[in-house]
């Protein structure tokens, strides 16, 4: 009988301690037949570094009761506006943890608002089946926003180096330095493909993909489209550009117009050949597939952002007998283009294409900057791996980007 009483009261206490349903935080109970846990030691509360200010970080050393195999449930974070309470439960952290960011949103009117520049007091309680033991109160502490995120320094350094390289090579190119670039099969094919369309008297289809005008891949595709449009105007071929996004359509119209203008044939430009189709992924695929089978373009360009439709477009284009040149920055889709298209611009080649097609020295200069950046990355990788292997962690840590 006595055993049942003990079990029953232990259960009841556990329920209270873990506290589902009710906010019973702060009730530290001593249990019959067991001792309450040791409190966590050295609790510290401080402003979370490099954040927007709506967060405070807590750290502590494990309670002596938090050992493997024990019935230790975790740590409860308690917060108050005054040192004397009342303390509010800010969540439970599983056993073994020694840190927690107590944070919230910055909008005053929303749930979970966490005030900035406001004094708080904290306690951390060790929770077991038997009871809870709280640490002493720490504080006051305030969440403060920072103006520079030091964790991002490696990114800042990378951006500065890269921008410097780019500017340097642009200036050099403007002064007339001759830059070599290696041939790229996909680019060499562009002229041939446009010429073929002219011979066959068939149009050229240019698909900008599913990206919005805010996607850099789409922006890169615009720059290629401008060069292609110029050549198309030179060859007096027609161009079809069905678009997936209205803003993309508007920019594509401007781009093609510029291309025709640069070719000295602004009168040949027809705005209706660059149109909005639809904004549903597979409806768009259906529409473009239809164009391929009905207008039988001699050449299809797929440059931009592509998802599952990559292979559907490329296979239909093959059926229609078109030459296909593709390029995307979606890593998972590159293989499908490689398999099904005649020429594929792999990854970075997509971004290099406009410089290749335009052949303007300034643009070629940026390619040189990209190459130097890659050389730098390779050097860092080799040195870094060696450093890591010989335990020289300082070097490796310099590359680590914080949140």
């Amino acid at each position: 009988m006595k055993r049942y009483v003990i079990v029953f009261s232990a259960i009841m206490l556990l329920l209270t301690a873990v506290g589902w349903g009710q906010d019973t935080a702060g009730v530290a109970a001593a249990a019959p037949g067991g001792s309450p846990p040791e409190p966590p030691k050295n609790v510290r509360a401080f402003d979370t570094p490099y954040d927007n200010g709506h967060s405070i970080t807590l750290t502590w050393e494990s309670s002596a009761s938090d050992t493997a195999g024990s019935l230790f449930l975790g740590y409860r974070i308690l917060r108050s506006d005054t040192p004397d309470g009342p303390f509010v439960d800010r969540g439970l952290v599983p056993a073994g943890a020694t840190t927690k960011d107590d944070k919230g949103v910055k909008e005053k009117e929303e749930d979970g608002y966490f005030p900035r520049n406001h004094d708080f007091y904290y306690k951390v309680a060790a929770v077991t089946a038997v009871g809870e033991t709280e640490s002493p109160v720490v504080g006051p502490v305030q969440g403060v926003g920072q103006w520079y995120n030091r964790g991002k320094t490696p990114v800042a350094v990378a951006v500065v180096i890269f921008t410097g390289l780019t500017l340097y090579f642009i200036v050099r190119a403007k002064r007339g330095a001759v830059l070599y670039i290696r041939p790229l099969a996909g680019i060499d094919a562009v002229d041939e493909a446009i010429g073929r369309a002219t011979e066959m008297g068939k149009p050229i289809l240019y698909v900008l993909g599913l990206g919005t005008a805010a996607d850099i891949a789409t922006i890169a595709s615009f720059t290629i489209l401008g060069r292609v449009a110029k050549k198309v105007a030179d060859y007096k071929t027609s161009l079809i550009v069905p678009c997936y996004d209205p803003i993309v359509m508007i920019i594509a119209q401007e781009t093609v117009k510029t291309g025709y203008y640069n070719a000295g044939k602004p009168e040949a430009y027809n705005q209706d050949s660059i149109y909005f189709l639809t904004n549903q992924q597979f409806a768009y695929v259906g529409g473009v597939n239809g164009i391929m089978l009905r207008d039988r373009p001699a050449t299809n360009f797929y440059l931009g952002k592509f998802y599952a439709e990559s292979l559907m477009l490329a296979e239909t284009g093959t059926v229609a007998g078109s030459i296909q040149i593709a390029g995307t920055d979606e890593v998972t889709q590159i293989p499908f283009f490689v398999v099904a298209c005649d020429y594929t611009l792999i990854g970075e080649e997509l971004y290099a294409a406009s410089a290749y097609l335009g052949r303007e020295p300034v643009l070629l200069g940026t390619l040189k900057a990209q190459d130097y950046a890659k050389a730098l990355i390779i050097a860092c990788a080799i040195i870094g791996v060696l450093a890591a292997s010989f335990g020289w962690t300082w070097f490796v840590q310099q590359f680590h980007v914080g949140n």
């Binding site: 991002k152 490696p154 990114v155 800042a156 951006v159 890269f162 830059l179 070599y180 670039i181 290696r182 790229l184 005008a213 805010a214 850099i216 922006i219 803003i247 508007i250 920019i251 401007e254 909005f276 189709l277 639809t278 904004n279 549903q280 597979f282 409806a283 768009y284 259906g286 529409g287 597939n289 239809g290 089978l293 009905r294 998972t332 590159i334 293989p335 499908f336 490689v338 398999v339 970075e348 080649e349 390619l367 040189k368 990209q370 190459d371 890659k374 990355i377 390779i378 860092c380 990788a381 080799i382 870094g384 791996v385 450093a387 890591a388 292997s389 490796v396 590359f399 680590h400 980007v401």
Partner: protein, 255 residues
Amino acid sequence: MSWETFLWTTLSVALTLCTFSFLYRDNPFYKFSESLFVGVGAGYFTIILIYNGLVPTLIDRLWVGQPWWQIWGGRWWYIIPALLGVLMWFRFSKKKSWISRYPIAFYIGIATGVAIPLEMQNRVNRQLADTLLAPNFSAGFTAGISDIIIIIGVICSLFYFFFSVAHKGTFGGIAKIGIFILMVGFGASFGYTVMGRISLFIDRVQSIRDWVKMGSDGTGGMMAIVTIVSLAVVLLIILEIMRHLRNKAAEPTAQ
């Protein structure tokens, strides 16, 4: 099963069959379903953008229950993006269409400005930091060798992407190893994806099966519709085969 659901389901099965006919060749049935999809898709997108985009991000913020002309109670500063949006409409005019470049310039500027540090961090800094690991031989010999292969693979593949150096000699050799590694990766990606894609078609076959079942379990009328649709499909296939045979007979034999 209600008639209503059955008829809607019949419609979707019919559209499904129309779409599948594309695999054979372009035909009026596919053209119909494709055009319908394009139109309905654009209409759906417009409506969603009005109700889930325009209303919550703009209208609800400008007008908070006041008479419509009085926007000061709301967050009036949202009038700025609205004006920028209206500037886009200058494209309807031939002469003034250049005004639309202002919002576009803003849009592009934001996109590229956000991208510079963000893509540098996510694609360059983070990927590089993940590469800087000592080969983990404590997890076994294979694991250690694999780590070394990863590092060598990354470096060789990066060599392939050099634009301003001729791919000749030693450099060309390293770049060649790089392109082989890229191809292994592409093959793996392709093979990995095949698994999931078949199930998409399985799902469509099952939905047609369910429709046939729905009809045969339902009233006589439903059964009749299922029969008519099925007969129509069979008839079309037979007609197509006959047309094909006739054309073949008319053609001079190949070779």
